[in-house]
Amino acid sequence: MTPEKPGLDNGLTDALVRTRRYFTKGKVSDDLRTLTKAGGRGADDFYRDRWSHDKVVRSTHGVNCTGSCSWKVYVKDGIITWETQQTDYPSVGPDKPEYEPRGCPRGAAFSWYTYSPTRIRYPYVRGVLLDLYRQAKAELHDPVEAWASIVDNPTLAARYKAARGKGGLVRATWDEAVELVAAAYVHTLKKWGPDRIAGFSPIPAMSMVSHASGARFTSLIGGTMLSFYDWYADLPVASPQVFGDQTDVPESGDWWDAGYLIMWGSNLPVTRTPDAHWMAEARYRGQKVVAVAPDYADNVKFADEWLPAAPGTDGALAMAMGHVILKEFFVDRQTPYFVNYVKHYTDLPYLIRLDEADGGYRAGKFLTAADLGVEEENAAFKTVVLDAATGQPVVPNGSLGHRFGEAGKGKWNLDLGSTDPLLTLAGTETGSVVVQLARFDGGTEAGVLSRGVPVRRVAGQLVTTVYDLMLAQYGVARAGLPGDWPASYDDRTPYTPAWQESITGVPAAAAARIAREFARNAADSKGRSMIVMGAGTNHWFHSDTIYRAFLALTTLTGCQGVNGGGWAHYVGQEKCRPITGWAQLAFALDWTRPPRQMIQTAYWYLHTDQFRYDHFTTDTFSATRGGIAGKTTADLIALSARLGWMPSYPTFDRNPHQLADEAAAAGRSVGDYVVDQLKSGELRFACEDPDSPENFPRILSIWRANLLGSSAKGNEYFLEHLLGAGSSLRASEGVHPEELEWHDQAPRGKLDLLLTLDFRQTSTTLFSDVVLPAATWYEKHDLNTTDMHPFVHSFNPAIAPPWQTRTDWDAWQTIAEKFSELARTHLGIRRDLVAVPLLHDTPDALATPHGIVRDWKAGDCEPIPGVTMPKIVEVERDYPAVAAKMAALGPLMEKLGATTKGVTYDESASVDYLRAKNGTIRGGPADGRPSLRRDIHACETILALSGTTNGRLATEGFKTLETRVGKPLHDLAAEHEGKQITFADTQAAPVPVITSPEWSGSEAGGRRYSPFTINVERLKPWHTLTGRQHFFLDHDWMAELGENLPVYRPPLDMSALFAEPELGTLTEHGLTVRYLTPHNKWSIHSEYQDNLFMLSLSRGGQTIWISDQDAAKAGIADHDWIEAVNRNGVVVARAIVSHRMPEGTVYMHHAQDRLIDVPLAETSKKRGGIHNSLTRLLIKPSHLIGGYAQLSFAFNYLGPTGNQRDEVTVIRRRSQEVTY
């Protein structure tokens, strides 16, 4: 095997090397191979010195990734050097992996920003504007009058607006920049009113105090805070639809508890980098892992099986899996665990009325106590089952009708008592009828499936159960029922495995087997099958249907509310665990209620004039013709606004200050006055004429966000119409909405002031009029939480904010102080009139019995504020006191308490504690109130006002809930009743939060968080109509859209809607492909994409991934410059050609921004665009529903999503010579 005497080279070499012994201090090994040294080494000083540092500071990154990773920031000689992850998370137990370390390469590269040349060090103002302002002020001597003289002069205004985004930012002092900003606010309030001012800052959980800073100012002046969760298309609308909850998901540590895990459109290593290890490790525990992804994504590497479903067809696969589960685990053989679960926790046994239609029947409304003739409180919201023993209708506890009112006290629970609800009428039926069910798999036109259900008459109504309808919908045949049914899994009719194969490309056998395994595992483990679902499936126009098909799988198999089971939606789901404290602070609920909160998607759909470019009416999406037939999306937005379903700001075509004054002058209440005015037609909703100057948004402030470089779907429409900066927009105008005023000339430059606070240059800062320099995350105090782990931890300054940067908290106080000073002479105290939509978790949810739409404008009913239209609330605005109120906790805390999800907390003791903890303000409008001057004060306040961080509040909150539920709950928090988490605690280490009624899961005893465990284990209802998880939605619009039940809807057909070329078309202009914008491995949205480390590890600029087949067709080679063009705009990027990409689809990873190495486009002769230059907003009508049970508005809880996945583009190789 080896030579007799191993050796090196030959004898001469040996001799030579031996001599080295005499020249070095090291020791040459006996065999002469190598040199060793021990001790006394001075030559390594460089590395020792490099490693040394003065201090290590705990902080984190306030970035929208939900990582919530605690980091060690190293400081040497007052300079931040680098960062590594903290590893001191409390243990999750001896038999589980741990939450250490948490962090990713992006976070590890953060400190680069601190001293980088993209850092914003000083305040900047657009030079043209600053010149105009200085000139005007020199003449007029008053900042407000100076501002007015510019923006009210069309020529001057157009001059600076047209210069937006084209360089020419100049340095200003804080004093001057803030004066200009404050003047703009004051002028806008005076001339246009507070609802013409908007603020945008997303995701409070990532840095709650920083979010609250500008939100508090905006709310105090009556401005509108724009939503983000729906706007980002991260809100799964299916969650409010099914659960009556915004989103509540398991922490990543709970993946460990799952026996079966499907990653469905969620690329965990990329988008949940610090959590992915739980998946990798759980496999070692015997967990089976399946990946559904159209490409060979990073997570596929870990999966036991890869189902490469075609993009956007995931709903078809899920429907087929539902078919298999219903057939094999409910019909062929009943699985006791599943049957028991669905009877207790879902609407499956509830009765649905069947209505005659077109010679057959259609599913109608839930049968309610009102239908039974029962005359009691909220009877129309008490749903009905049949008792198996007696065959008689029973009204179980726990429906919405028990949630509000005296009679429901103690009865809002899931206790079925002695009732055993009938799941199916089969066997007890008096007959069967054929129901017509919508199908959409045939293309753009809806089709019909005719399938029978067993029926009975109850109280004169023909009824069946949701379960029977589900079997019909899924096509699971039972003997004796009429209709068209698939004969086997091989029958290519909805919703069999073979049917889905023709759509998704996933083999039928595989789909059936994965469904079977998923359910078998759930049965064996009592619910420990989990689906991790992500943006790949959630960012489609019809994602709510995709998700409902997913949730059917987890709910039918009894996995929701079980550790290790259920849905795990990880898309921007951020969880601000101390939500109650943050909400009081952010929306200034301690001083003034209600705040203005707007659905951002509809806001921009109107205000960037995207509505002008729609070429279809919304019945395009309908199954039947009903109330929305012939309407445009903009018409439905107007309808939703006037019915009080969704908020709408600016609300009326008049300054609300003026309206309030007019009401007072008329001696009418504001509500009566507005109703009078609306009925007479003298007053109109602003959304009915968004292109008229009095209805423009006038000021937009942005902090902690990069709207134009990241989330602004329809980027070119923003540049064109909102900013007036010119664009590469190529679309043609379309259908005129019936109810909107149409202006032949679309406005350009609606916005007077774009203000941004940031620490780095982005597309948003470059297009802003004023840019204020912000402190980074290593330069301030703040709080951070996520739903991925159960801890609250802190930001702390490693260094003081350098140059002229300030924390958001300080910056907004500076603005507030100047504002209040100018307000003294220009505004004083004014009355404001706030229109408030019908709100979820309040009795407003009872406004629309049976979800039957009644439009007062059409004469269906009277306009009644708070019932058939928005509530109209009068509010006092003490503008000169705004700065004082910013910096102190207001008196409504004791007076009204704090309400979250229907539970009101008495905050009196917390206020006393905070007076002592933070100190008390002396003198002025906030005399005697707890201080909020410093960011630490804000942190302490959030912690003290929330149940998750204050055990007393959690315990009391549960006691409050107990009186309604009638079941013991407060023991869940009692173990921590005396615990108050302080900011100092979060500085020492991440701190586990306390189980609180603010959330649906229990962490009592240190268990992993899984949503709805309190519902399942303690019989607390979901916040829905039945109080159970819903398969069936009976709102008029849901029926009209054909979405009463889970259903498959394909991606939108952009050639039918917008005359884009068909997918696969190859012409001289290029190849038409599906255009997807998944999350980027090298950035978190736009953050880090400009970071030199991330650019060095990728390809250094904007890229589009394309399959080798498509590249060959279009003549594109790897790294070629290419242009992607559609009606929305133009993108220039480099191609990355890879065989891991599916044919027909390209990926332009999300939010690469346009600032890094983007040349001029050949097509437009302008700077190439960003990923959102090729997208635009399309609003799904069902997302505008409100005022009915779980389909009621709450901020970031329900609203139209800013989806962007259904788009296509033409892609071609361009000249390889680029210019800039």
């Binding site: 030579p3 191993p6 021990a38 370390p101 070692y284 060979y296 800039y1220």
Partner: protein
């Protein structure tokens, strides 16, 4: 027997998510400075792919590492030491900057300072070498996630060896990640290549360092290292390399790359080895025997003879204790699931890897069989997406059997634990089928799955 101690690392590739956190934290801590812009002491490669620097594994070209000469004696592949001295002024086997990449930055300041102009300001790339405008054509990780596979992956030196086993087609796609640091070899060819004697192996822990005072910038170490993990600092004119974070390790902290590894896949521990047998082990004739030969010189820290010999060599008691509870020893020699990277280079590398499992191909799935069942899992090993030959070329000089054994152990662990997970009685025949006891299998699971901080390091 002469016992020496060696700090070593094991990376469990089966858990690597390819996130590159290790690369960034390492670079931030050690090489974000002038002269080392292109230097990544730690990098992560997508495989198949060319690696960094490009095609470094092609020793027919680069001549790194050792080879056996006609007399069976170990000789530097780039030529014996005499030859090295004679050719000291012309070193043809040195990767050029292009083989790494030309580092760049951007004129970010333009974004702030651009005067009023026609177009939106943009930051253009500037070479960090020339300071001029540049076109980016390669980066530190150009082929990440199979980027440009059609154009570049075929140049993967490993693929060329197994050629027809891999097709670059969507349905057959596979990839995995290979994080790399300096191997801190027992038989370092960099040290042997250095004409100045500047590279040394620390006696107490085996960490290989470049003496910054003695280095004369001959760059023979760069040629000599087959892993291309010695870099040239073009500012100081000295060689630099991964230091195994000795300033941290000396005070009981793991290396930066290991502690910040968010996949929790890195293990650090002490090994005891017989220094007298290194040359012999590195000189075995058949490359396929190198893995076993290398394992054989690692000593059993629980063997009383070894302990006595170690004490004789002056190895402190707590170091011997550390060797006894070393996770690295457990993974390499007790469970035998970790394998050395390219043992055929004969440098006796001390960073070992657990090869990755990978999803089963359609073949198994379409049978309608449940792939999680034990018998199918084992059957599936033969049909893994990652060709086992590819892994063997990385870890066992092409010998498939040891890789197969490792993958079967991992599969057996999953299968055995599934019963426990679902509250069923465990099946003792499963560990037996891979030659392990139930206790050992469970302990291995604990180390790989729970991977507690104080057990990883």
């Amino acid at each position: 027997m002469r016992v020496m101690a060696q700090m070593a690392m094991v990376m469990n590739l089966d858990k690597c998510i390819g996130c590159h956190t290790c690369s960034v934290t390492c670079k931030q801590a050690w090489t974000n400075r002038t002269g080392t812009e292109y230097v990544w002491f730690n990098n992560v490669e997508t495989r198949p792919g060319q690696g960094y620097p490009r095609t470094y594994e092609d020793q027919e070209n680069w001549k790194g590492g050792w080879t056996l000469n006609r007399r069976g004696r170990l000789s530097l592949k780039a030529g014996g030491r005499i030859r090295k001295l004679l050719t000291i002024f012309s070193n043809p086997k040195l990767p050029a900057l292009d083989d790494y990449y030309e580092p760049w930055t951007y004129d970010y300041a333009t974004l702030t300072e651009a005067p009023a102009q026609q177009h939106t300001p943009v930051a253009r790339p500037k070479s960090l070498i020339t300071g001029q405008d540049t076109k980016i054509t390669w980066s530190a990780n150009w082929d990440d996630d199979l980027g440009g596979s059609a154009a570049t992956a075929e140049r993967d030196p490993i693929l060329r060896k197994i050629g027809d086993k891999v097709r670059f087609e969507f349905e057959q796609t596979f990839m995995f990640y290979l994080p790399r640091i300096c191997e801190h070899c027992l038989n370092p060819s960099c040290a042997a290549s250095c004409p100045s004697g500047a590279i040394y192996k620390r006696s107490e822990d085996g960490i290989v360092l470049v003496d910054q005072d003695r280095c004369r910038g001959w760059r023979m170490c760069i040629s000599g290292c087959p892993y291309k993990k010695v870099y040239f600092n073009h500012r100081t004119g000295k060689a630099e390399k991964c230091t195994f974070c000795f300033p941290r390790v000396e005070v009981g902290m793991p290396t930066v790359c290991a502690e910040t590894c968010v996949g929790r896949l890195r293990y650090i521990g002490l090994l005891l080895y017989d220094a007298d047998r290194v040359l012999e082990a590195a000189s075995v004739t058949d490359e396929h025997d190198l893995y076993e030969a290398q394992r054989s010189i690692l000593l059993d820290p629980n063997d009383p003879d070894v302990i006595r010999a170690a004490e004789r060599e002056g190895i402190p008691h707590d170091w011997i204790e550390a060797a006894r509870r070393s996770p690295v020893h457990a993974l390499i020699n007790r469970y035998q699931v970790a394998l050395p990277l390219h043992p055929e280079y004969r440098t006796m590398p001390m960073v070992w890897y657990i090869p990755p499992l990978s999803p089963v191909v359609d073949v198994v799935r379409e049978t309608g069989e449940d792939a999680e069942r034990r018998e199918n899992l084992f059957a599936a090993i033969d049909a893994l997406r990652i060709p086992i030959e590819y892994l063997a070329e990385l870890f066992t000089a092409g010998e498939v059997a040891p890789v197969d054994r490792v993958l079967r152990k991992l599969a057996a662990m999953r299968s055995y634990l599934r019963d426990l997970n679902l509250g069923r009685d465990p099946d003792a025949t499963i560990p037996a089928a891979v030659g392990m006891s139930e206790e050992d299998l469970y302990e291995m699971y604990r180390l790989l799955a729970l991977a507690k901080y104080d057990e990883r390091y």
